[in-house]
Symmetry: D2
Subunit: 320 residues, 4 copies
């Protein structure tokens, strides 16, 4: 079921190489100002452009099919569609027989009969995340007292942004790819969001974050480092305004505690690489190699901070 | 809503210092052999006993109220209750005014009116996890072709189990506490579990895992280390039997790929420590200190592997 | 899934001839006064006693296992259990082979393997409705500005209550059974409850009402008679205080309009009758007859008004 | 939440006087043959044309935005959109102040701020049912061993179809409207669909049916008449092939019993009538009258049988 949320409910549809990708949001508060131009800034952040990102160019013009009248939300389901235009008719069908390492081809070919849709990985494509970003824009509108800030803090093993372009260049020259870490911070959090079982703030955020393609890990506040600390180090003493430091990342016992929500997300390197890889040819029953062509990101993590923000906003709009 | 799952649906109830904790499982397959003795092994793994665990002793005798006849499940909702016996009537009410660092007291007192239940942290207690372990036992029964193995791989900053008891002793002597990391491994995974949006295997596992008290992070396969790798290193080449290594932790594109599911969970150090901590006295409006008495674990992470297994089994029973 | 509701969520468990029947309610507002004695009045209305009702006697003492402290709800899941005591060990197993006309035996034996629970019809028993009544008591507490009144308006084809006892006597003498119609009326309805798609007030009420065993029809306001009217007759003109008559039964376009909610529920005659009935013997593959013994109601509809009220209150508690 | 179903999940969006109405179906089995022409027959049955139906003409061309490739379903979410073309820009906004008897105007104006969308009743319009019919077409494809047949059995108080056109003419001449009763019959039902609590077959069918605008009642099998019968009359004896008659309408104890599913739905007369009606002017605070212009059905029930079939198919596709 391609749906997330109970009150602010987001459903995605569409395919990377089909007519469009889209999203329906049910439970949008009525009366929010909203027009197509509101999407431009976040969509631009997701668009390729940085070194290491794909040359596929989509205009990414949102069409608001329902739920908006006179540039305000009506409270009815809000459907947003992005037509696909720059589609190359790659024959992804072959990946059914010779699966790409790191991709869902193998598992999906066992689960579904791909003969039905041999186009571009269907819903597994990063193209679907344009729908998440659009839903995130609406969610942020509904959460105007909160501020969201996700940014890349590590790329290709380096914490120094000055090195990133050259790391990407080297990886590209080798026909290889890089990963990185995104940190997301939300200020203005109300106190008491979340439930002890099973809908803790971390549960819901991680649920949504792991639906972004390529995520390998998530940690809140001190994160994995907390497991090496003593309680007296990790615990956040209270002052008059709440927690006096933020080792918890803004969540205690599954509930938001008023401190900024802080978490980090580990993205793997792009799976599609030009370099030759070993794989199995399930059609002919023999070891084979694969060099992946097509217009892929060397380092798609550069495009992900706005997606992390979007799914975070979707979760919080559902909780508030 | 204290419920998880769609097909195999687990709902917890009860309070740490109330009459009982319990769980109802809806969607249990009919005809599974099940009796009270089946719970003994996993309940024992959760019970205190290791150095650094609480002296609170509960007999943990499961009472099967419904859904079982003649030592087999009937397919009707299965309710299991654990009576609370070793209850000390601590006055947790005071933590409403003087919140314990690291606990949900502060956030919960804003969210709810604790005057209604000043007993032992209500549902925020680790005591609730006995219900999760019980549900996990039933889930494992429903998944008899899978094998689950979670174990502690790091404690107090050390990967060497020979050092753990002495680390715990030192922390206890200091009135302090320790955390650690649990690794969970599931063998026999079918191929194709999970959905691309939004119910990837990682999404559901992390959702459930973060409902265990004290979790700060989760990572699958190569995890955070993957973000420093190149694609050619992290990608798992395919052989005749599927992935030839397991950097993905058994999941590609949100779907299980047949390799073992492998993930690690970071637990923070126990929040309740004997050592004096700074906190705020919200009643008197002044800085205060708190020394937490009561029967708490110095290192509750020693009791968590079976809980991690349990929530993993619950998720997989829902997906299969 | 034995659960109803999204915000005020009711889950039933237990079996007619098992240890207990019970209910867990999640989403109960905190701070409602509630103790075991609050259930007495409604439970008494459901209890047998009127002419034509079963001699099976259960003390129907609710045990509140969780979610209540100091005679007030805590907001945590509220579990209520009724132990079964007056259980006769009838062998219902035979109905697997020789199904009782009007019962679920035949369909259930195809759906499930009844060998697992040959006791009293499991969850199909009217005994389960004690759990609904208990949940209804809690729902009514949460809805204290509303008043509920369901009553029997027709029995055995007669609208005159003076005739009912004698109709029941005659049916009993013939080893036969009777049905009837219950009318439910809720005053104090807020305006605007419900949604156009798919959760209209009528959708949710009818969903819940048809889960009561023995219901054959439901109609709101003018009901089936409305289909014979002209618009000018059926439409309710508006006055200063809302609708000036109540042909709509209090619902327009799926939304409550502030007028009393009024609907009628048709109950079939009790299926279990002493009189000989034709059935098929699926074990021996031949036509057979069945005379049903045991302690059954000649006219269970006399016990249903409080059950109709209960499920109505459950729906409204979820909507408000 | 404008969604129905758990496995075959239907979500509607759009507005009567907006850009389009549409539906997304999640959980469609992959590989069903499906193209735009498959919708023609059912859409035609819903289209006006019979005497007494609206002159508003929409081409009702379904556009399949996603979930279909090469005229087969892919298993991904299926989105179907119907563009609105024959839109007159009626100012429905005035009905906020002077509500139309029988409509949701009054309740909706209390619930929402209609200033946001003063166009044609938004989601309350019968126009939305084109989305239900489209979803029904897909559901029927997924249920090809079942046959659906809903038809009008009563109109304006007459069971004789020869009288219907003249009854409609008379009502139209009086500026008035008529209602009627639709009977729906499904053959080929599998045995054992449905659950005792709370998702009986009748619960789910009635839930969906009451989301069709204008429904006032529903009854299964003998329906309200069953409440006047004795058990020996109403019970269906069993023969070798299951129930030997069908007083139950195909459902026992909430489960389908293999006999045809048979139910009747009472539709009220069209609420919008040309004849002058009393209403309240909430703007000026005085009694007022209203004559409704616009292109409305005198007898919309003539267009409803295919809608009843559609929601029935949606429910059964979810249950199977």
């Amino acid at each position: 079921m391609n749906t997330f949320g109970r009150i602010f409910r987001v459903s995605v549809f569409g395919e990377s190489h089909g007519a469009c990708v889209g999203v329906t949001i049910d439970g949008v508060p009525e009366g929010l100002p909203l027009s197509a131009t509101d999407f431009a800034a976040d969509l631009a952040r997701r668009s390729p452009g940085d070194k290491g990102t794909t040359p596929r160019r989509e205009p990414d013009e949102p069409r608001l099919l329902s739920g908006v009248f006179d540039d305000h939300t009506t409270g009815a389901p809000l459907t947003i569609v992005f037509d696909n235009e720059d589609v190359e008719d790659d024959d992804y069908g072959l990946f059914d027989a010779i699966p790409r390492p790191g991709h869902a081809d193998y598992a999906a070919s066992v689960k579904w009969d791909w003969a039905n849709d041999p186009r571009g990985g269907g819903m597994f494509s990063g193209r679907m995340t344009v729908a998440l970003v659009a839903a995130g824009v609406v969610a942020k509108k509904a959460l105007d007292s909160l501020s969201f800030d996700a940014k890349l803090v590590r790329l290709g093993g380096s914490d120094d942004p000055k090195e990133w372009d050259s790391l990407v260049e080297k990886a590209a020259a080798d026909g290889d790819s890089l990963g990185g870490i995104v940190e997301c911070r939300v200020e203005g959090m109300p106190i008491g969001l979340g439930e002890p079982f099973f809908d803790s703030v971390e549960s819901l955020i991680s649920h949504a974050v792991f639906s972004i393609p390529g995520v390998r890990g998530i940690e809140f506040g001190d994160g994995f480092a907390a497991s090496d600390m003593r309680g007296s180090q990790h615990n956040d003493p209270f002052g008059a305004d709440g927690p006096a430091k933020n080792g918890s990342g803004g969540v205690n016992g599954g509930l938001s505690n008023g401190a900024p929500l802080v978490f980090r997300v580990a993205f793997k390197p792009t799976s599609s690489i030009a370099k030759s890889q070993r794989t199995w040819n399930f059609k002919d029953g023999r070891q084979d190699t694969l060099e992946i062509k097509g217009r892929h990101d060397v380092c798609f993590v550069r495009r992900t901070p706005v997606i992390v923000e979007a799914v975070t906003a979707i979760v919080l709009a559902d909780l508030v």
